[in-house]
Symmetry: C2
Subunit: 437 residues, 2 copies
């Protein structure tokens, strides 16, 4: 924490001119920092009451929110936004109800601050307890899904953090409407003013200001496509958690049983190809190719509409496969495309993964205990599977209740992030006059 | 982890020209990354054997190391380095023996990778275990204390991390000599080549290259003065842990007993004023000033050579105090100087701390349970004390055995960092063919 600089706290009071995007962000971030101190003192019961009020307010103000959304959607269509993106942006009563229920589910989760991490007594009588506390102010930069506004606000209030939200320009009116409704309802239950802030401008300079608000923002989470995440990670000077880049691999070991291999590969590629835990490259032991299993699996994948890009050995048994290039091994397709490579050995598979993986999720299909043990020991990814689909890398599948994102970095949080990722700890030490010798 | 770029892996083989500092760092970092994969597979017993061999080698090669150190010291004196800095740089047999024993103590600590964090079973039968694993490659940028070379290398080998060390230019020959001896001894016990690397150039560009080695360096730790730490935190694009900035406060509550208050304040200010957990500002409830305790404490502090910089109310009872300015409240003196401010209430003390603290260590002296509870709840610093000296914020005082530094940031590690701060986790999931519905 650096010292708040008075220059950053300049208000525009008294001036008639519009504040700059930078000033707007600083005002919101400074307000959020003030709010965070008060919020940290709220008991969890009061925070849960605020969450329930937020959910109820979304329902009560559904008409106004949906009207704001219709305006956003109209603008987006007029601007020629792709239909898939317009759909992501679109809210209706069913989706809004799902958002409200999501907030109620967050309220029902265990308070992430309730339990101390550890507590011990030193030989000199000092009693040390490591307690869990909120991070302070969370910044979230996301794209055009307006439901993120509500999800992120709920997770932050649950963990007693203030939040500054900066959504995509297409969803600006919807996000502002949701933000206003949530903030007002939360304040009605004692959440301090400024604890839920939506940046009210689509100006790119506002996002840049948020990335550089050192001393105001304790953690910045980018949620969205690879482009957005890369920009934030590279440019931000505030702490960031990198999420979601998933070039995931499945390795079919020599001993992989065909039925299980097929079930897992089809699930990981086809069930939802656009998400980060979908498989992108299949590595196949040469014995699997030699006994015809790869040809059979390839035919099944093609039947289901999957384009295969293969190494030369793959193309010998799946002649329809497109030749794979170096780029294919490094690409997260997020589409019905699968890169396939035949390897000589587990070692070669491990080498390939070490070289091309983004460290998200990898799986082995095997009956061989030694191969399974080596795979889980040597693959350095957030989640490593034996005989299960990579699609399980997900907060709710892991049983965490809520998910803020899936961290593909190693510091602070790794893999699916539950509420704990929005907390830090402090050491509280009780003595009776101890001094250091 | 981003994909290793072939451009970064360019070797200078075949060329006769000297490699650039950037090329040197990239070669070392790339070698360290290779080594890290092998090192992660070494059992802890083998790593401990390597540590003992490293300690023995330091003793065996003491003459060569001390000769390199004499060269460094001579150069530093010739260049007119201040005596205090020359002393920090100086090694002798006693100091070298202490370094060797330090490595043996690290070997005797529990393996930070030994215990799984948690393990559970999902309703669908998936068995999930969160295991602790090394971060990979640690970079350390430090100043002229050559013992850091050995300390950091030992902590990294203990936690199965490779390390790239970049010490101060004044200690370059000593660090290189220590690094060579340690790396050779470690390799003799199976530690892979490249796992302990010392950057062999004092060129500033080498430090900059280390700060930007994304995908090669998993964590960069700056150790040294505030200037060094600020530079690294602001410039690095690799993950950094900020350490050591300590503008620490003690608050004497209305109920503070005089003897205890004096003992704690003297210890926190005088026992070792140059370290980050020494107190810099004393906040005093007006009742303490009114009953003469502040005047008495001020006289005692001045007797012991402490310069006092006080607010107007302080100067009423300690007339010799220098008037304190806004800058004093924000300054980490690291010297026999103490800023003193009389406050109206606990609230005013909490406000002052929230505004000026660097989030390191703060203490309250009190007999009032409610005041103690509010203080530990509302002060958001890494360590918060009731009736004990701030000087206890230290890895060995906390019982952690070893300390890599004291984190003043909130992500990943906070407060004294033990070996665990050099680790991350992974989720290992065993199934028998599960796929996502």
């Amino acid at each position: 924490m650096s010292l708040p600089s008075p220059a950053l706290d300049r208000r525009t009071s008294g001036e008639e001119s519009e504040p700059s995007p930078e000033e707007t962000v600083r005002r919101l971030a400074s307000g959020a920092r003030q709010a965070a101190r008060l919020l940290a003192r709220m008991e969890s019961k009061a925070r849960d009451r605020a969450l329930l009020a937020m959910a109820a307010a979304l329902r009560r103000h559904a008409a106004a929110i949906l009207q704001a959304n219709r305006d956003d959607v109209e603008r987006a269509r007029a601007a020629g936004l792709r239909a898939a993106l317009v759909d992501r942006l679109l809210l209706d009563e069913v989706r809004l109800e799902r958002v409200a229920r999501g907030i109620e589910q967050v309220a029902a989760l265990e308070d992430p601050l309730a339990r101390a991490v550890r507590s011990w007594r030193r030989p000199n009588g000092l009693e040390i307890t490591e307690i869990r506390v909120p991070l302070g102010v969370i910044g979230v930069i996301y794209e055009s899904r307006p439901d993120v506004t509500a999800d992120a606000a709920a997770l932050c209030i649950k963990s007693a953090n203030a939040v500054v939200l900066r959504g995509g320009s297409e969803a600006l009116e919807t996000s502002l409407a949701i933000g206003r409704v949530l903030a007002e309802a939360a304040q009605g239950e004692g959440v301090p003013e400024g604890a839920i802030a939506v940046v009210p401008t689509a100006d790119r300079r506002a996002a840049v200001a948020l990335m550089h608000a050192r001393g105001w923002i304790d953690l910045l989470i980018p949620r969205g496509g690879p482009e957005l995440i890369r920009t934030v990670v590279e440019q931000a000077s505030v702490p960031v958690i990198e999420t979601g880049a998933g070039n995931c691999h499945i390795y079919l070991d020599a001993s992989a049983p065909y039925e299980m291999a097929e079930r897992i590969v089809l699930n990981a590629k086809i069930q939802r190809p656009t998400v980060c835990n979908a498989v992108e490259t299949l590595l196949v032991h040469r014995d699997v190719a030699a006994r015809g299993d790869l040809a059979r699996l390839g035919a099944r994948l093609r039947e289901l509409g999957v384009e295969i890009r293969g190494c030369p050995a793959t193309r010998e048994v799946i002649p329809e496969a497109v030749p794979a290039t170096e780029t294919d091994w490094a690409t997260e397709y997020l589409d019905l495309i699968l890169a396939v490579r035949v390897v000589e050995s587990l070692d070669e598979a491990l080498e390939h993964i070490a070289r091309y993986s983004t460290g998200h999720s990898e799986a082995i299909v095997t009956q061989d205990l030694a191969a399974a043990r080596r795979f889980v020991r040597e693959v350095d990814s957030a989640a490593v599977y034996v005989n299960a689909s990579t699609r399980f890398t997900d907060g709710s599948e892991f049983g965490f209740g809520a998910e803020i994102g899936i961290s593909t970095q190693k510091l602070h949080a790794r893999g699916p992030m539950g509420l704990e990722a929005l907390t830090t700890t402090r050491f509280v030490v009780f003595g009776d006059g101890q001094v250091r010798e």
